[in-house]
Amino acid sequence: MRERHPRSVNFEIPRYILFMTYFSNIKTAVSTVFEGMTITFSHLLREPMTIQYPDRTPLPVKDTLPPRYRGFLCVRPEICTACTLCQKTCPIDCIVIEHSKDEELKQRVMTRFDIDMAKCMFCGLCTEQCSTGAIYFTNEFEASTSNIKDLVFKFIKQGEKVIPYKIPRKKKPAAAAAETQAAAKEKKE
């Protein structure tokens, strides 16, 4: 005959044990509720964890961000070379640059530099491409607005013409090295 599993043994719980569970249930209920009340009451005396963002933080949140934080993009048109590398690398085409040959000035000018921050995913590819550091991330991040068009940042005003920056022609590597050596010597003395 197969042995029965001990758990399946059908034995009657004695009456007095049931009676005791009745009272132990009451005891558990009372003591746990009491304990729970002490815990919640102690929480009334604790410091709240809330950070009251935007206006009641000890420092403005903008100032507490790390230096390499990726906030809104910003462009310094005066050092932009209008190479349009940023426009070409941007995977979602947020950047629109328009540049053309100006008849009066007889040279290339930029007439438009828009970045649609509503589309931007802050990947940072554009800033890595830029040879002059004209396009960079700021600490600004509060983008809520009632009109999504407000998030198209225009760095060149309508009708304005900006002459692209020209990187000074690089010296020959040897000459450059000599110059730095001279500079180092000067510093030593």
Binding site: Y22, F34, H43, R46, E47, P48
Partner: protein, 409 residues
């Protein structure tokens, strides 16, 4: 109420010219208006206080922007709800749907007729006040079932049904406990029950005998369940029933539900205060305050006396209201079967046992023994309170919590 009105009339020349019934009518209307305002203001402030307490218990701050420290938050919410469209579902039973909130509100509001605020300030001191209170509070269940049924929504219907089952069941331990207190005080009038107690804690009903102490809990839990408060808020269990019986309501009708809920919160505290904590009994305090202010005329003396008693009563009820609020943020909701278990297997037997034993006690035990027991019970109560705060301190120390005692930050 009548003695107080008589006193005012005897002091005031203009009122003496009017017929007596007319001035009575006017005064009763004024007091009804005062109570209406009281209920509205209490509901607003309780809603605010509840959210602040909830915030601190959950390590948050709670609403603190609207008005100084956010005290006008409920007002802002009220205005917002008022401006909502008043929607009646197409397939709802229109008449019942409109009628239900008034049933609930009337049920709550009628209770205030018998609830005293001080020795003379009570709308009507009925001889069967406590009986009246039980009867009137049951009117609420009709409103809840009605709103649940008329909404033609399964969540509302389930909420209404649960509420009916719950209120009908918990009426039993509550009624038994009230019967016990009535038996002990020898009167059914609410003022009579209060006057049978005294100002000092050892004269309160709760500390008279161990059985009366135990009897407090069926009453308290029963009123929690009847008021649909946590942990017995099955009818409006948010996670299961959206919002229960008031799911389909919006606009002004929803505000009525909100008012009813919070005035009921006060009723829970006031009922327990009346039955177990000595009501408005202030002992020598009113005379002391009168002496301090140097008040001579009987009318102003009476007003000051009533004011002091009002403060005492409010203090006790609001402490209990605070406990109710704290319980809400402490305990999880019970299941429906657990709810019925608690009522029928635990509260009803305990209430019956207390009733029988107290009956025997009153016959057998001489007066002076009861007095000694009352003193011992009071000492035990104080010790229990002390142990509570000791445990609170232990919790704080054990978790190395950072403290902030200012309740407003």
């Amino acid at each position: 109420m009548q003695p107080f009105i008589d006193q005012i009339i005897s002091e005031c020349e203009i009122l003496q010219g009017l017929p007596l019934w007319f001035s009575y009518l006017i005064f009763q209307l004024i007091f009804c208006g005062i109570i209406f305002v009281f209920v509205a203001v209490f509901a607003m402030l309780a809603g605010y206080a509840e959210r602040r307490v909830a915030g601190r218990i959950q390590s948050r701050i709670g609403p603190n922007r609207v008005g100084p420290q956010g005290i006008l938050q409920s007002l802002a919410d009220g205005i917002k709800v008022f401006l909502k469209e008043d929607i009646i579902p197409t397939h709802a039973d229109h008449i019942l749907f409109r009628l239900a909130p008034y049933f609930i509100f009337i049920g709550m509001f009628l209770s205030f007729v018998a609830i005293p605020f001080s020795s003379q300030w009570v709308i009507a001191d009925l001889d069967i006040g406590i009986f009246y209170l039980l009867a009137v509070e049951s009117l609420v269940v009709i409103g809840i079932v009605m709103s649940g049924w008329a909404s033609n929504n399964k969540w509302s219907l389930l909420g209404g049904m649960r509420s009916a089952a719950q209120i009908v069941s918990y009426e039993v331990p509550v009624a038994l406990t009230i019967l016990l207190v009535v038996m002990y005080s020898g009167t059914m009038s609410i003022q009579g029950i209060i006057m049978a107690q005294g100002a000092a804690p050892w004269n309160w009903n709760i500390f008279q005998t161990p059985f009366l102490f135990v009897a407090f809990f069926p009453l308290f839990m029963g009123s929690l369940a009847e008021g649909n408060r946590m942990p017995f808020d099955m009818p409006e269990a948010e996670s299961e029933l959206v919002s229960g019986y008031n799911t389909e309501y919006s606009g002004f009708r929803f505000v009525i539900f909100f008012f009813a809920e919070f005035s009921n919160l006060y009723l829970i505290g006031a009922l327990a205060t009346v039955l177990f904590f000595g009501g408005w009994q202030a002992g020598p305090l009113p005379d002391f305050v009168n002496g301090l202010l140097g008040i001579e005329t009987p009318l102003s003396a009476a007003i000051v006396k009533n004011l002091v008693e009002l403060c005492v009563f409010m203090f006790k009820s609001l402490c209990l209201v605070f406990i109710v609020i704290q319980l809400r943020w402490t305990l999880p909701r019970v299941r429906v079967d657990q709810l019925m278990n608690i009522c029928w297997k635990y509260l009803v037997p305990v209430a019956f046992f207390n009733l029988v034993v107290m009956g025997i006690w009153m016959v057998v035990v001489p007066e002076y023994v009861t007095d000694i027991v009352a003193l011992c019970m009071t000492a035990c109560g104080v010790l229990l309170l002390g142990y509570f705060f000791y445990r609170v301190a232990w919790q704080l120390k054990n978790t190395k919590a950072r403290l902030r005692f200012n309740p407003l930050s």
